[in-house]
Symmetry: C2
Subunit: 188 residues, 2 copies
DNA sequence: TATCGGATGATAATTACTATCACCCAGGCG
DNA sequence: CGCCTGGGTGATAGTAATTATCATCCGATA
């Protein structure tokens, strides 16, 4: 892991151009309408190397589309994630989850019900191979989150109950999910 | 990585007993008062293998201390993290950050200003070694987040400007931080 | 180009915290 | 062992980020 591992702006620019060129056909395949807002959000996002928040994308778009709504930006970003055109860097949590286990270990998270299990994979504890820095960054540690589907959710997903759920994934059924083993009702 | 990698309940029970026994002396070392609430939060947390949210800890505590306040639970959990007696599983983000780069890569995050940089470490892309499942969990993928301090923040931290910041770390100075390159003021 | 359902903008509502502040009590002191 | 004092607590108001609602709009297909 050396300085080359940081993704460069040059690489990203070329990548952005390609992704944008494919975007309309990707939408059509998915049956999504191609609206100016949707294209604009995609363009701003894919041109950003800085992992913007919805507000930041919104601020950039306002210069061009003074009437665009922040809600649209939120919705569109979630839509892009849902169709695989973007990723959420803050993956699976919508509220802080605490762990009393301070021993080195990592986490296995069910992407559907958000159940978290500790996993202890010794090799994960040395991913940095003792490296102290990377470019201008001083390395402190690292956390591995393994995304998975627990047994219960796998069965539910297969029997067509309806797939994921997360703050901001777009469908409007009320859906029963289990959060930390408690069953509760959650809206979308 | 086999089934043994899941941390067992048996292990956790023994671990919990040990941690709790040490807790009061740990507080004393840090100059923290030993209050019934603080001990109770610690006890509930360390006995939970399910990475509870503040609300969940609160619900359990209410049975025992009907007057305990949710705010106290939030504060205490953050305090426990601050002194290293607990970890926050949802590490460094307080709002969703999106990435238009859907190519396999991982993230380097500055723990102080929360700047995010993409990193591409090919070996991180095969941490699961093609494993499809672990116990009842069907594995889908994994995300590595490398915690670091960027150059700017390293300098600031050294010159004593005051160290971290995060939703819920306890001090009351207003502090200048940079979020995604925009400079803004943020309260504590 | 008429139609229709998905998309949008405006805004209210919700969720998960955090700040404030008056009161309380843990722990050092005499 | 009973004061003192400041950190800790409970109650509650406030805030930030996101989601829901709904009337209106407009992109896509016929």
């Amino acid at each position: 892991m050396n300085d080359q591992t940081l993704v460069t702006d040059k690489w990203r620019a070329a990548y952005a151009a390609r992704r944008l060129a494919e975007f309309t056909s990707r939408c059509r395949e998915r049956g999504l309408a191609i609206t100016p807002q949707r294209v604009a959000v995609m363009r701003v996002l894919v041109a950003s190397g800085d992992h913007p928040r919805a507000e930041t994308v919104f601020a950039k778009l306002r210069k061009e589309y003074p009437n665009i709504s922040l809600a649209t930006v939120h919705r569109t970003l979630e839509t892009l994630c849902a169709i695989g055109e973007a990723r959420k860097v803050t993956p699976l949590h919508d509220s802080a989850r605490y762990d009393g286990n301070t021993a080195p270990h990592h986490h296995l998270v069910c992407v559907r019900c958000r159940k978290i299990r500790d996993i202890d994979v010794p090799e994960f504890n040395d991913l940095l191979h003792g490296r102290q820095s990377l470019g201008e960054f001083q390395l402190l540690g690292c956390a591995v989150e393994v995304q998975a589907l627990c047994g219960e959710c796998r069965r539910a997903a297969n029997s067509g109950v309806r797939t994921p759920n997360s703050r901001g994934q777009t469908h409007n059924l009320k859906q029963r999910i289990t959060r930390e083993g408690e069953t509760l009702w959650r809206k979308h």
